[in-house]
């Protein structure tokens, strides 16, 4: 476990972050704090600003108001390479070129640790191999991206993000394209990364996943943070009805909270 996991230490802070296209506010005065060693799930209906929130954290968009601070410095002030040494992201779009070899794809993220002369070091290879084993894609190393199924590619891209070896992992709908087994494997992996002292922040669609794996759940609606806390506190029937506009009954299985439509609960 990495040093400095004690409560109170923050790694990423959002203060009053507001972002919009024209008059439409996509993020509306969002203030959040993230700590190392936390697995945070961001949930909310389509178009509530979840993905935009991740982009703002990653310095891919400049908020109209407010700021995102990483270790006391504005994210936007970081040179991209310096920022990428601290923060990795699994984006939603799948744009890897079809002709690229999987081992090369995963190795792309090692760029952040390369100097002009030091590349392809044993350390680089060790990280690439470990990441590919973790995501169970080691046997795909010699395949071309175009030959992969959607799920295989998603796992390879996750391996790429892991090999980047950053303190902060931003995951935008990481379970996309994955089958049941790999969905749970990915979520286990994310929790394990958090246990090693990383801050893992994932946009999730499945509330059950969020309740089962995340240390903390952030519920968003219309660009605002509606609730932020433990799954039991956030994923209440009242909140769900307010945000998703559907009346549900909640069932719990251990940690997991399952929201079913009202009709199914009778």
């Amino acid at each position: 476990m990495k040093a400095g996991k004690e409560q109170g230490e923050t790694i990423l802070t959002l203060e009053d972050v507001t972002f919009g296209y024209g008059d439409r506010a996509v993020l509306d005065a969002v203030s959040l704090v993230f700590r190392p060693g936390e697995f945070v799930a961001v949930v909310g209906p389509n178009g509530c600003g979840k993905s935009t929130l991740l982009k703002a954290m990653a310095g891919l968009i400049a908020p109209g108001r407010g700021s995102v601070m990483l270790a006391g410095q504005r994210v936007l002030a970081f040179p991209r390479k310096k920022l990428a040494q601290r923060m990795a992201m699994l984006a939603q779009s799948n744009e890897a070129p079809a002709g690229m070899v999987v081992a090369d794809l995963v190795g792309m993220s090692r760029f952040v640790h390369e100097g002009w002369l030091s590349r392809g070091t044993p350390d680089d290879q060790a990280h690439i191999d470990a990441a590919m084993r973790t995501m169970a894609v080691a046997d795909l190393a010699d395949r071309r991206v175009g030959e992969l199924s959607g799920g295989q590619l998603q796992r390879c891209r996750m391996a790429m993000a892991l090999a980047q070896d950053a303190d902060i992992l931003l995951l935008d709908e990481p379970t996309n394209h994955l089958d049941l087994k790999h969905q749970y494997a990915l979520l286990e992996m994310a929790r394990e990364q958090a246990a090693r002292g990383r801050a893992v922040i994932a946009v999730l669609h499945d509330l059950t996943h969020a309740s089962l794996y995340a240390d903390r759940v952030i519920l968003m609606d219309g660009g605002r943070v509606v609730a932020d806390g433990s799954a039991a506190d956030v994923l209440t029937c009242t909140n769900i009805a307010d945000v998703y506009g559907i009346t549900t009954v909640a069932r719990t299985f251990g940690r997991a909270i399952v929201h079913l439509p009202e009709s199914a609960g009778e």
Partner: protein, 331 residues
């Protein structure tokens, strides 16, 4: 194919073709004669002179043009993430030619000085192509928009060229070969000035290769992996355009090699990394040298223009690439 093996094979093929290029011609020279002409040159021996002055110089020009055009094409295809772009399909060739003709007509430039109007023409063509592509864009990233824009740009600049020539046809009589793309016996003279452009361009492409590879994953992903997308894209354009221009200045608008060589590279060894870049350069040299051998031997003793040979073969290849690209998009 393993990348290293591919590179070794391409080198062997290139060497064999160079030997064939020096030996083949209107009259076939024996290998012994070629070796003699190279290492034991006798300026009074006419056949020695043919091998050196007519074949070796052409060989160097063809190899240079093929290599820089292919690397330029690969760079464009990577940063624009569009398999159909190349110096010719982006209109760069036509833009350079138009400005060279204007440079000759208005400022009476010649020789290596023509590099500058050609470069301006190339940059202008890329700007017009992007602009036109933006206008015809049917939303999203349609690879055909840029090609349509490039075709419009090429037509525009070609008509400017034709117009300028028609004002004073006699003055451009000796440029007819260059206008369709040809390797002349004296083309090594501008190359003697321009080769540093190619060397520097390819060298910088090797240095920037990693960042350019990151950009093939998309702008946001590249940014998250530590590259500055705008900087890398601008820098790569600043390499790819002069590379193509340095070839156009020497041999004229030879098309398609910059389109086809990257595709062959991708097919055989993939597109990632420095080995692929080197392979692409060798592949381009092989293509143009082969075209030059064909141009000199198909209708011997008459010479064909390399540009004509390339346009014939390259046009067919272009069609195949467009069709497969569109099929892949539909699927």
């Amino acid at each position: 194919m393993k990348a290293g093996l591919g590179l070794a094979l391409a080198t062997v093929v290139l060497c064999l073709l160079c030997a064939l290029h020096l030996a083949a011609g209107a009259r076939f020279s024996s290998p012994a004669l070629v070796v003699d002409a190279l290492f034991n040159h006798d300026p009074r021996n006419y056949q020695h002179v043919v091998v050196i002055k007519q074949r070796l110089t052409r060989l160097v020009v063809a190899g240079y043009a093929g290599a820089v055009l292919s690397v330029s094409g690969l760079l464009f295809q990577k940063i624009l993430r569009n398999d159909l772009v190349s110096p010719s399909t982006l209109g760069i060739n036509s833009g350079a030619v138009a400005f060279v003709i204007l440079g000759i007509y208005i400022f009476e430039l010649n020789g290596a000085a023509l590099f500058w109007p050609a470069l301006i023409g190339g940059v202008a063509a890329v700007a017009v192509t992007f602009l036109a592509a933006g206008l015809v864009s049917r939303g999203g990233r349609d690879p055909l928009s840029l090609i349509l824009g490039g075709a419009m740009t090429a037509t525009l600049f070609s008509s400017a060229t034709t117009f300028a020539i028609s004002l004073d046809p006699d003055r451009f009589g000796n440029l007819m070969g260059w206008l369709v793309g040809d390797i002349g016996n004296f083309d090594y003279q501008p190359l003697a000035w321009l080769w540093p452009v190619g060397l520097a361009g390819i060298g910088l492409a090797f240095i920037l290769c990693r960042q350019i590879d990151l950009l093939t994953l998309g702008t946001e992903q590249a940014a998250m992996l530590g590259a500055d997308p705008r900087l890398v894209r601008a820098g790569t354009l600043a390499l790819a355009i002069p590379l193509a221009i340095s070839a156009v200045c020497v041999v004229g608008p030879i098309g398609f090699v910059g389109l086809v060589a990257p595709h062959i590279t991708r097919l055989l060894i993939g597109e990632t990394g420095r080995v692929a870049l080197a392979f692409c350069a060798l592949c381009g040299a092989v293509i143009v040298i082969t075209a030059d051998i064909a141009a000199r031997t198909l209708l011997a003793p008459q010479l064909l223009q390399v540009g004509t040979v390339m346009a014939l073969c390259g046009g067919i290849a272009f069609l195949v690439i467009v069709v497969t690209t569109l099929r892949r998009r539909v699927a």
